[in-house]
């Protein structure tokens, strides 16, 4: 494979196994740049990347921005508070106006599912979904795949357990699709109030018992938990959540010796994960963050190489 089939990165659902491998291989070879004393290479000089963030974000936005800068692209960041959305402009108009200034890639985060898909119908630039509502967060899933592959040397055949709010997590959604596409066995676990209908159809099994869910896991990933959704508390208290689904030191006596702990961040310490677990040698949470930059560099490179060949 020399180029991606997709013009945009809307979701893992739009990528096939071959494309995912291609992205991961590219990211692995680009990662070395991040370790150099001078962390900058020229391939995307003269390219412009717009980070359009309608939802607050620290690490994802920074990660995309650094990835672009490492490759010498120019970046502009627009966040919801400074955008004209507050002035009542439609998303399509905002996008068309940005498009008129000739960017090469628009990276967008939006609170509503399908917003980046809408964008692709109205503009020509490549679009990268940096998280849309409760739908997908593909670059996060790709960096999770990269981190697991880096640690175990493979993804195929591993048991991946994801714990938390499965229904409202775009990370869970993308990770389930990504890991199952790459041949891992995915288990999800969380409060039944946070389990969407038909989740098994995405390619995973759903369990309600934490111990059972993590017993055979090679990877345990806890999601950031948010008690209130649409004004309704989906579990009685954070205290109870921590006791039923939180990962604390007790988990070490249940999981396999070789099992690693992941979290997409930011962590609610003491709720879904205790500090002892987050800071333990089992955690590869900061590797995830580093790999995030490499994966995003790969996405930029592949999308822009693609357009150059056309």
């Amino acid at each position: 494979m020399t180029k991606l089939k997709s013009r945009h990165i809307l979701g893992i659902s739009h990528l096939d196994r071959e494309e995912i491998s291609f992205i991961l291989n590219t990211a692995e070879s680009l990662k070395e740049i991040l370790e150099r004393p001078i962390k900058k290479v020229p391939p995307l000089r003269g390219k412009t990347i717009v980070n359009l963030f309608f939802e607050p974000s620290t690490r994802t936005k920074l990660s995309f921005e650094l990835a672009a800068k490492r490759l010498s692209a120019d970046t502009v960041g627009i966040s919801a508070s400074t955008s004209s959305v507050v002035k009542g402009e439609t998303l399509i108009d905002t996008a068309r106006n940005i498009e008129a200034m000739r960017p090469d890639i628009i990276v967008m985060r939006h609170s509503l599912s399908g917003a980046p898909h809408l964008l692709t119908r109205y503009i020509d630039s490549a679009v990268i979904n940096a998280g849309d509502g409760t739908n997908e967060h593909p670059s996060q899933a790709l960096l999770d795949l990269m981190s697991v592959k880096e640690h175990f040397g493979r993804i195929e055949g591993l048991n991946i357990t994801i714990i938390g709010d499965i229904a409202h997590s775009r990370v869970a959604h993308s990770d389930i699709l990504a890991f199952s596409k790459m041949g891992a066995k995915v288990t999800v676990c969380g409060p039944a109030t946070m389990m969407p209908p038909g989740i098994e159809t995405l390619g995973c099994r759903a369990l309600y018992d934490l111990r059972q869910a993590v017993r055979d896991a090679d990877v345990v990933m806890a999601l950031r938990i948010q008690k209130e959704r649409q004004g309704m508390a989906l579990f009685p208290s954070e205290r109870e959540y921590a006791r039923v689904f939180g990962l604390d030191v007790g988990i070490f006596s249940v999981i396999k010796e070789s099992c690693v702990i992941m979290h997409p961040g930011p962590i609610n310490r003491g709720v879904e994960m205790s500090p002892e677990v987050a800071d333990s040698s089992r955690a590869i949470i900061l590797d995830q963050v580093t790999n995030g930059v490499a994966v995003r560099m790969a996405l930029f490179t592949l999308l822009l190489t693609d357009s150059r060949e056309e």
Binding site: L112, G133, T201, L202
Partner: protein, 438 residues
């Protein structure tokens, strides 16, 4: 020659389909002086009669759509009474009942009369206003039923929003008894549907969209059926979309509850999969459900649990649809696709007879609303629709008479549609120019 009253029209060699007398026979139909003067084989009209040879095309009573949104007053950029009734005529309809969620809502005599005046002025299709159940559709105090009925309202509904409180629905049904009035229920439990934008199920999970469970409709249908039983009043359930609702209505009918029901063509034609890729043209409330629900809707139509096909014609300008899925407006236009979809799905795929389709689309709505229509008997007002059940056509934007074109069926090919619509003896739609003089 649309718009012109012909003194006499003789439709020759048609397939006369009259559900009110269970007739499906080859024959002629003579219209004189705005009434059906005669039906039967070998009719000879007066010398001046306009004569059309139908070559075995269907002749049915004018279609009646008991659930449309004409958007006037207030949202004339979506549809007007003039454009909406032209779309109705083009779809074969001679009567449409319009829902009260205009702006301001039709909750008083003044607006009811305004709607009727506008409709008369347009002259495309008879409009039957459905007035609000509660003032401002706010679900609290009742509207003046007596006054509204006198002004021309045919039923009461807070369609667009459910009557939230069971006590208010009970009150409405009880008060309706005084006038034998019909209450139409937009059956939805808002506590369960809140913020949902499509059916809750595997597609909503896949698309990461908030779902509306079937239970949001089922519990509301059950509540209102219980209240209809309690009060003995006449209840009609609008836009049935779930298997559960069909079963609840079936049981209520078996118990003798005075309940009737309608479904919309999209609920027997499409499933939630139409929402794929965040297609806002497939967004409506209630949402498109699953294949299991679609099957149950078709069986409900077949066994009479669901009495009528009504379009829920809901025009929206492009701005309301070309946006993020969760923000997009609910609803699709339906007047010009209802009959083609009934022919496609019910007639061809499901083996419904032309008589059954005519019953669902004219006779039953007329009897539920207690208005004249749904019959080709001699002496009745001449509301007549001629259908070419084989005519192929493609639904495109430019061919639509509605002011809006928010339809998931755009670009699709159909076989069969209305070709001639006659309302009270007046030609309101003539696709092929059958009655053009000279």
């Amino acid at each position: 020659m649309t718009g012109t009253v012909m003194e006499a029209i003789l439709l020759k060699n048609g397939r006369i389909i009259d559900p009110s007398s269970d007739i499906d026979l080859a024959g002629d139909l003579l219209i004189e002086d705005r009434r059906i003067a005669d039906i039967g084989p070998g009719l000879k009209g007066p010398e001046h009669a306009q004569l059309v040879d139908l070559n075995n095309k269907w002749v049915v009573p004018g279609l009646i759509d008991m659930h449309v949104h004409l958007r006037e007053p207030g949202q004339e950029y979506k549809e007007t009474i003039e454009t909406g009734t032209r779309a109705a005529a083009a779809g074969g309809f001679t009567k449409v009942a319009c829902m009260p969620n205009t702006s301001p809502p039709n909750d008083n005599e003044g607006i009811t009369r305004f709607i009727l005046d506008k409709a008369r002025e347009a002259g495309n299709c008879q409009v039957l206003p459905v007035a609000a159940v509660s003032t401002g559709q706010k679900g609290r105090g009742l509207t003046e039923f007596f006054d509204l009925l006198n002004a021309g309202a045919v039923a009461f509904s807070d369609d667009g929003v459910p009557v939230r409180k069971a006590s208010v629905m009970r009150l409405a049904l009880e008060y309706a008894l005084n006038f034998d009035a019909l209450i139409i229920s937009h059956a939805e439990e808002p506590d369960l549907s809140a913020q949902g934008c499509m059916n809750e199920g595997i597609t909503s999970t896949r698309l990461g969209l908030r779902g509306i469970p079937n239970a949001a409709e089922d519990v509301a249908v059950f509540r209102d059926c219980c209240l209809a039983e309690l009060t003995g009043a006449r209840l009609h359930i609008a836009h049935v979309s779930t298997k559960g609702a069909v079963e609840i209505i079936r049981r209520a009918k078996e118990k003798g509850v005075k309940v009737t029901a309608e479904t919309a063509p999209h609920y027997f034609s499409l499933t939630e999969e139409a929402v794929e890729d965040y297609n806002t043209l497939a967004k409506m409330n209630p949402p498109l459900r699953t294949e299991e629900d679609r099957r149950a809707i078709i069986e409900g139509l077949r066994d009479g649990t669901i009495d009528a096909i009504a379009t829920d014609h809901a025009p929206h300008e492009s701005l309301s649809k070309e946006c993020e899925f969760a923000l997009a407006a609910n609803g699709i236009i339906g007047l010009e696709t209802a009959l083609p979809l009934a022919l496609k799905v019910l007639l061809r795929e499901e083996g419904f007879s032309p008589l059954e389709i005519a019953r669902l689309m004219s006779q039953n709505p007329a009897s539920i609303l207690k208005v004249e229509g749904g019959s080709l008997e001699k002496g009745k007002r001449a509301d007549v629709t001629v259908i070419d059940s084989e005519l192929p056509f493609t639904l495109d934007r430019d061919s639509l008479f509605s002011k809006s074109f928010n339809s998931p069926f755009l670009g699709q090919s159909f076989r069969g549609r209305a070709i001639l619509t006659i309302m009270e003896g007046k030609v309101t739609f003539d696709l092929l120019g059958l009655l053009r003089e000279g």
